[in-house]
Symmetry: C2
Subunit: 269 residues, 2 copies
């Protein structure tokens, strides 16, 4: 068995969903993180049935957000519905970058909080918890104006914890000396909706997006993060989510095996 | 005239120093930022004479630091001496990344503070002010473990302000919602030793180092930064320092002209 380990399907992007689900079940994995594009492509109800029949639980659906896009409201309404259909308890929100031509970061961040507020009633109605994810500051301009865990906590604070929490992702937060206090704050307020693990390696590739590493292959003290979220009262899944051109070039079963080994050696106690 | 504008030579890396100095003087520029490698190559005394005879002031020398290297002490002693010879009032310190194989960011950061302490007597003896530069968190692993202005301020706090200050660089700090308070803190403690300006554009190139933009070509509210350092009591040079493969491919005089225009339009009042 693999305890709290969950395998995010983005880690083995090109592994067909039925094979990925069978591989996880065979390895004793209990949880799986899904992506909207792949789930829609396979069919939402069909995805839910496949995962459920294999005895797996969906731990999260990625992703809503991108509140700088004109159609953000409709798209996020759809994302919440999709999460409900695949039985994902959590919808991960990536806030989106600055609007084109804007230099007003404060306004963009404030808009994220207001947008979440408009989605909260739908989250409560469906039982899907929104999870705002701070992304590494290198993505601030073009992908996510929410750059620290404290910012994310400030933005969800006006809303009920069962409707709006945060994602703690080691890859995005490892550099921040204030993250330990922020994790304690998040736990005390019952805001930790999702815990994701990836490791940091250099040099960054062009565009910076696909440069993550499997747990243990980089320089992040992953176990310190896992202990910190535990100490803050979080006892949910530990999702390994790695976007990496290098990892994607490897066969799915090998990636799952390496992710499990990295988890056991560098994350779990 | 160009007021407080200073032209960092790294912005036009391949412009020979005599031409760069003549170009700055002809444009009414009063300040120039130097790099150790180029100054040594041209000759330190010869560099000082060239710059002085053109009526320019050296505003900073880049760079010491890299305290994770085994020879950091000797190298930084040399850097301080070199700064004194070229009449640079400020030596910029880039802290260096994690030691090879280490995941202990706290220890690496603490070491930076201790290392600066060992250099302070030499700074006081030569009149060269050390300026610790927080770099963008995307450089935390391999280039600079000091990622925020508050961290830099914490690390120099034990030492006299005339010996140890900080660099405020818009490119590295623009994403941080706490930077405005940190700039006020830095000014109140007389720690702003250097103010550098570059703009942020995406996508980042591989390695992330050479992706900056000239003032006004990106998404940073540069004028807000200049007003913030002014409000904090800083009245020193405003150095345009842009590392960019795109900018380096343009002729030096054109780059200086574009930097001046960007400064006047997007930084100065």
């Amino acid at each position: 068995m693999s305890g709290r380990f969950s395998f995010n399907q983005a880690t083995a992007r090109d592994w067909p969903l039925p094979d990925l689900v069978a591989g996880c079940a065979a390895a004793g994995v209990r949880g799986i993180g899904l992506w909207r594009e792949q789930a829609r492509e396979f069919g939402l109800e069909r995805t839910a049935a496949l995962v459920g029949e294999a005895g797996l639980a969906v731990t999260s659906l990625c992703r809503g957000g991108f509140f700088n896009h004109p159609d953000w409201y409709d798209d996020n309404r759809s994302a919440i519905e999709e999460a409900a259909i695949v039985d994902a308890p959590v919808l991960v929100l990536v806030a989106g970058g600055l609007p084109a031509g804007s230099r007003d970061l404060d306004a963009a961040r404030a808009h994220v909080g207001e947008a979440i507020g408009k989605l909260v009633p739908h989250a409560l109605a469906t039982g899907v918890r929104l999870a705002l994810e701070p992304l590494h500051p290198m993505f601030c301009a073009d992908r996510c104006v929410v750059s620290t865990l404290d910012q994310a906590l400030d933005l969800v604070e006006p809303y009920p914890p069962e409707a709006a929490g945060v994602v703690v992702d080691t890859y995005h937060l490892w550099w921040d000396d204030r993250v330990w206090d922020a994790i304690a704050r998040a736990g005390a307020a019952d805001r930790i909706a999702c815990f994701q693990v990836a490791d940091w390696v250099t040099p960054l590739p062009a565009g910076a997006l696909l440069g993550r590493a499997l747990p243990g292959d980089g320089c992040v003290d992953l176990r310190r993060f896992r202990r910190a979220v535990d100490s803050a009262g979080y006892d949910g899944p530990v999702e390994v989510e790695v976007f990496s051109a290098n990892v994607w070039s490897r066969p799915g079963p090998e990636v799952l095996d390496a992710a499990l080994r990295g988890y056991r050696t560098h994350v779990a106690d």
